[in-house]
Assembly symmetry: C2
Homo-oligomer: 209 residues x 2
DNA sequence: AATTTTTTTAATCATTTGATTAACCAAATA
DNA sequence: TATTTGGTTAATCAAATGATTAAAAAAATT
């Protein structure tokens, strides 16, 4: 009666349908505001199938959350651990790639920071971002550049906050920025597109002040 | 039977008790996850009183939301419209004041960016941030400085995104930053405290690149 | 003090919502 | 083809939750 085997046979179809529907709805509304019926409707399946495949709303949510995290952070580290690029190149590439990612999935940052509050420990351990960050090629290059006096002695914490803040915050506060500046979606995107080039320049000037 | 008169008599006591409890709970959990029973318990009152004074959860929420907005943005404009300070001084003062505000009420930014998605238009009109921003002394000084060539010709949109991003994002992503950098609350606050000084310096260097 | 009005409470209602069940269907297997 | 296994559905359940009600208590008014 119960589907215990890992991704067996062809029921992957409906199972995957539910999961990607859940992804959409959870990202959009968060855990509390998302109803299992919303997800079922989005997936075009009977409500009972959600529980049949995933046992509970919470279990489904945890899966979506974990996968979202992994997707989101793995895309970061692919750039950060490239051994063939300089620090400056990594910053440029990362800014560009990250903004493209945010164009594709603009709700993810808000989703992550929201649901991390109710979770924190358990989830973070599974991914172990801490080590991934500090063992990355990027951090090594960053520290080397400081030691060689090429950039200012600014703690990596500040650098990370700045980089993330400049990149992500406009997406998080998009409705606010649009309203305040009277921008259409197209105009907003154009402003963000400009930031692909600008943020690396700004970061460089910050690091050499 | 119904309390129609505006803030009459002394029922301000319980009415205010409910409202500030609602503020706490809504800020912490958002509209969907907050239960009226949570609010009643937080306020130490009978559940029915919530509906007696505020008709519905939604009406109560709208009041909290509006007041939160007004508080939050009024504290911005008090600095922005001071005619006795220079552009540079305003930036310094604003960074400092705003970070203090965020220390006191760290959940507000996330609350605002979350709940604004379901509201935007109606609410923004009531406050009319758009005009408040563009008629502010700060923007006038900003544009003047550009015209005089004292700072780079950077659109105010970018400047605002940068300023807000550098200030607010660390609070929004606090659990993430704490985890990644292995910081205690005290250590995190110390890093933020440093940013009071640093952000104005960074902004200046960005604007003169 | 008596009466009216306002505030508070416990009990209850109605709806929403996550989850289950039993019957039915479909596909694989024998 | 018959049988078993897995997938799907409609109906239903139970708990949670926003809201109401009627009675009691407290406060204000006469």
């Amino acid at each position: 009666m119960k589907p215990e085997k890992e991704s067996s046979e062809k029921n992957i179809s409906t199972e995957e349908k539910i999961k990607s529907a859940a992804r959409i709805v959870f990202h959009q509304k968060g855990f509390a505001a998302a109803r299992t019926r919303d997800i079922a409707e989005e997936a075009g399946i009977n409500l009972a199938l959600l529980n049949y495949y995933f046992r509970s709303k919470e279990k489904l949510f945890n899966i979506v959350m974990l996968e979202t995290f992994q997707d989101f952070f793995s895309s970061i580290f692919s750039v950060f651990n490239d051994v063939d690029t300089s620090l400056e190149e990594k910053i440029e590439k990362f800014a560009s790639n990250y903004i493209d990612l945010l164009f594709r999935e603009p709700e993810i940052p808000l989703f992550i920071v929201n649901e991390i509050r109710n979770n924190v420990g358990e989830l973070m351990d599974k991914i172990n971002i801490r080590n991934s960050v500090f063992n990355s090629e990027f951090v090594k290059q960053y520290n080397k550049a400081i030691k060689e006096g090429r950039i200012r002695n600014l703690s990596f914490q500040h650098f990370m906050m700045n980089f993330m803040g400049l990149l992500i915050f406009p997406f998080i506060a998009k409705p606010l920025f649009k309203e305040i500046n009277g921008l259409s979606d197209v105009q907003f995107n154009k402003v963000i597109e400009e930031r692909k080039q600008l943020i690396p320049v700004w970061l460089k000037s910050i690091m050499t002040v």
